[in-house]
């Protein structure tokens, strides 16, 4: 699993499609995990983590298991960094932001490679 992060509107998905391959299956919140192919890019994971109706742990566990099931499978998670702004006034937003920080730490720990995208340019963090 690789993890790609960076601020909003920094060109993360465009970079990932160029770097990993445009044939990737791009998944977002609400998409099913069927017919995955060999390369899966999950875009906007922050929406999945922040969704009250989704079990994010279950979602990522299934994808990790899928990736482990064959050496040719590659999983890429793209998450917008929303942790660098003013403390939000709303409690839900604060909780969401905290959750994102915890999840991204976990992704960074478990990922083989981690990239931070800065306006289209990748900086490899791991």
């Amino acid at each position: 699993m690789d993890f790609v992060t960076g601020g909003a509107h920094n060109g993360k998905l465009a970079w990932a499609l160029t770097h990993y391959g445009s044939e990737a299956k791009v998944l977002r919140k609400g998409n099913s995990l069927e017919n995955l192919g060999n390369l899966v890019i999950v875009d906007q994971v922050e929406q999945i983590i922040g969704s009250p109706e989704l079990d994010a742990d279950q979602f990522f566990r299934e994808l990790w298991q899928w990736e482990q099931s064959s050496p040719v499978y590659q999983l890429v998670l793209i998450g917008t960094d929303i942790t660098g702004g003013v403390v939000p006034a709303e409690r839900e937003m604060r909780e969401w932001r905290d959750k994102i920080g915890f999840y991204y730490q976990q992704f960074t720990k478990e990922a083989e490679s981690v990239y931070r995208i800065w306006y289209g340019i990748a900086q490899q963090l791991k």
């Binding site: 909003a8 509107h9 702004g85 306006y119």
Partner: protein, 177 residues
């Protein structure tokens, strides 16, 4: 040469940019100020930047241009500092109420396209605002979108691209000396 500098507030973007422009071998230095005085704090901020340029080792010509930056004409002997993209995008958005984010982005990129190739050297300063939680206000959302696209375009066009972190430059694209 086109150099793009982006960073957080008080990260030392402008002084770093000024140093780069001062080092330019070109004859004439120009400062494009996009900020508009809206209150006392902004007045003090602009005064502070003005004093810095007055105390500079070289002489600067200042152009106050909150919008329509493509109207300025420069030549190959000019070294220009454009400070900054963030306030300019704000001013343009306030002027062009009713445009959608794609129209705005296209218009701003066109203005920059006209401007940045005229001077011999140009250093463009922008501000980092893309790591906040998404706003619930559509105007702020559009602003983040437009600014992100404009910054991406500038990085793509630039010969050098620098992220300022508390006075420390992180070089993402290195072509300059």
């Amino acid at each position: 040469m086109i150099i793009f500098i982006c960073g957080g507030v008080r990260s030392g973007k402008t002084s770093y940019a000024e140093q780069l422009v001062c080092k330019s071998p070109l004859e004439d230095l120009h400062y494009i100020a996009t900020g508009v005085v809206t209150d006392e704090e902004m007045k003090a901020r602009i005064y502070h930047h003005r004093q810095d340029r007055k105390n500079s080792t070289r002489k600067w010509t200042t152009w106050e241009q909150p919008t329509d930056i493509m109207k300025l004409t420069f030549s190959g002997t000019d070294a220009v500092l454009l400070d900054c993209i963030t306030t300019w995008v704000t001013n343009e958005m306030m002027k062009q109420v009713g445009w959608n984010k794609e129209e705005l982005t296209a218009n701003l990129v066109k203005q920059l396209e006209e401007l940045i190739h005229k001077p011999g050297d140009i250093v463009v300063v922008s501000n980092e605002v893309s790591r906040d939680v998404p706003s619930t206000f559509s105007l702020v959302k559009d602003y983040a979108y437009v600014l992100g696209k404009v910054n991406q375009w500038l990085v793509d066009q630039s010969d050098g691209a620098v992220e300022m972190v508390f006075g420390e430059p992180i070089i993402h694209k290195e072509v300059y000396q």
